[in-house]
Symmetry: none
Subunit: 238 residues, 2 copies
Amino acid sequence: MTRTPLWKSIALALTADIAEDRYRTGDQLPTEAQLAAKFGVNRHTVRRALAEMAAQGLVHARRGAGVFVAARPTDYPIGRRVRFHQSVAAGGQTPAKQLLALDTRAADAREAEALALAPGDPVLVYDGLSLADGAPIALFRSAFPARRFPDLEAALTKTRSVTQALARCGVADYTRATTRVTAKLANATQAVHLRIAEGAPILRTVAVNVDATGQPVEYGRTWFAGDRVTLTVEGEGG
Amino acid sequence: MTRTPLWKSIALALTADIAEDRYRTGDQLPTEAQLAAKFGVNRHTVRRALAEMAAQGLVHARRGAGVFVAARPTDYPIGRRVRFHQSVAAGGQTPAKQLLALDTRAADAREAEALALAPGDPVLVYDGLSLADGAPIALFRSAFPARRFPDLEAALTKTRSVTQALARCGVADYTRATTRVTAKLANATQAVHLRIAEGAPILRTVAVNVDATGQPVEYGRTWFAGDRVTLTVEGEGG
DNA sequence: GGCTAATATTTGTATAGTTGTATAGGTCAT
DNA sequence: ATGACCTATACAACTATACAAATATTAGCC
């Protein structure tokens, strides 16, 4: 005589809690065991409800950690003068960057070509994570010509902003020369960082930034969580 | 939904980094904490990956120091005319020797017998470490008849090479009379020197070198890191 | 300079908690 | 009978935290 399945009513109740801001973006929900006790059902029934909500992008679970309220989609522009900080702030969210790794090594073939370096020239590689309101938006890996910017590593350690760090190294302004966008599937590592499932869709952009004289200063690859970001292309006066 | 366990993909990524020489033999990897941040997982997950790589002999951890890329297996010949320096250089690696202790004392029973000395005769004992590309390959303890070579201690201090030191003491050439090989387990001291785990397998060789007249000039015991060295037996024309 | 002691860093180990997955079975409406 | 729904149990994978043990680094002292 159960018109509505238990799991469905549980999902509705939790969805209402989120809609009424009882749980906010990034918050951890009670554990599955706690929810099961609270609703007086088996843990699997709660899981069924959470699975439905996850499929709708409302929540996301991290094994071993808990279930969290997912971030709302972010609009992200692509154009000649894109600055992550400004773009996110313009959308009313708080931007942040997390440094994952900073390493100097020999350039690989693509990096050397994009930056107009000789094979084997050193590049400074900056792996990081872009956040909006604490939610991960994008993974990125930027390569810079290490010989031209010997102080960039220190600058990036202080201010994780690429724009500010380059400014300290004498590049007052830079613009995006090329951008290519492709679709990929998240591998395990990317999925963890972006808090999405392995195999979930990802937007990958490959870009080269140049200074005022046209010299390439940054070769950047960025991976966006596909269902959390919408890339918008500005009119580019080529 | 994790097709591939996280730790496995992390181990693969790090293994690839080593294979592409981004981390070289003897290099220290980033700390577990840094790797955990870089891959966006808990430290224990990184440890699981490192444990797998350590089990394969790819890396080795030293508590309090870090995780290091293990040396690649070195081929080491056993035969009548073995010279450490030449053997390692022939393999394309850079040989070195580290002096641990140099001491003159009364010979014990085995040393006396091997060197054809009277009980209680003095022997010069040379404890050292053999390195290839900076990675420890073998621990050794060599005993020489002190009365026959009064200047050997000074010579060994200058040039840590046994061959060169003996040459200065009038032994232009020597050959290996006997070699015995056994397997042991590393004790704590050996493990520290060889940068392996306590209880790891060790190859021990016991050898007597004789001069052109057949007089024994060196009684040497050597402990090789079992998983880092392959002993190859040359055809010995007795 | 060299030695010692204190401090900080790094790996090793232990414990507890959380989500993911698999298996087995039971209830009920159609 | 069949399939959707729900319970029960167990284990694997991962997180979180804390502390111990070994090492590296630094400061101070002679």
